[in-house]
């Protein structure tokens, strides 16, 4: 759930998504779910290479097709992320002991 929460803090910010088929799409993150499916608005893609997307404004990306998401570093609190990672690691270790 860590990255779900992380991306929720990035809603309405501009991100660049690189898909596993090498398509790169820049757009405003409109929403995100637990599978890291995305909804992007006002997109721009490399339309000389991929003219399919030339008329598209707004799209849904199934999370499984994502390779990378590039984020503006000024939007990220790295200390907060590291603390959250450690907390999540502790919590999942706790779940195993608890028999979940």
């Amino acid at each position: 759930m860590l990255f779900f929460s992380f991306f929720k803090t990035l809603v309405d910010q501009e991100i660049t998504v690189e898909l596993k088929n090498d398509v790169e799409i820049k757009g405003t993150l409109k929403s995100i779910d637990q599978y890291l499916n995305l909804k992007l608005d006002n997109i721009s893609a490399n339309t000389t290479k991929y003219p399919h997307l030339i008329a598209v404004r707004n799209l849904f990306i199934r999370g499984s097709n994502i390779r990378y998401i590039h984020i503006n570093p000024s939007l990220v609190d790295t200390n907060l992320l590291q603390d959250a990672s450690r907390r999540e690691a502790m919590a999942s270790a706790g779940d195993k002991i608890g028999g979940k």
Partner: protein, 91 residues
């Protein structure tokens, strides 16, 4: 295994010890990424900063392996592409 035992040795604990350190990540599609690790989860989703991606490729009719690099200030990597994670000092 007790909860207070922070040196417990699950595989993912190795990644936890790399938080805030330079890591080397080998990825599917002949790609490697080196950067500072800020977050990870049980799927090996990760966030790296000041990352350098190296993509290896060959050109037609040539056995020579070439590479090109790309830089990213802050990048999220989806875990299903990850093959291995290591302390960058080991590479």
């Amino acid at each position: 295994m007790s909860e207070s035992n922070s040196t417990s040795s699950e595989p993912l604990d190795l990644i936890r010890l790399c938080l805030d350190e330079q890591v080397f990540v080998k990825l599917r599609g002949s790609r490697e990424m080196v950067g500072k690790l800020h977050a990870y989860d049980m799927h090996c989703n990760m966030v790296l900063s000041d990352a350098t991606e190296t993509i290896f490729y060959t050109e037609q009719d040539s056995p020579e392996i070439k590479s090109r690099t790309k830089k990213s200030d802050m990048v999220f990597i989806r875990g299903d592409s990850v093959i291995l994670v290591s302390d960058a000092a080991n590479v």
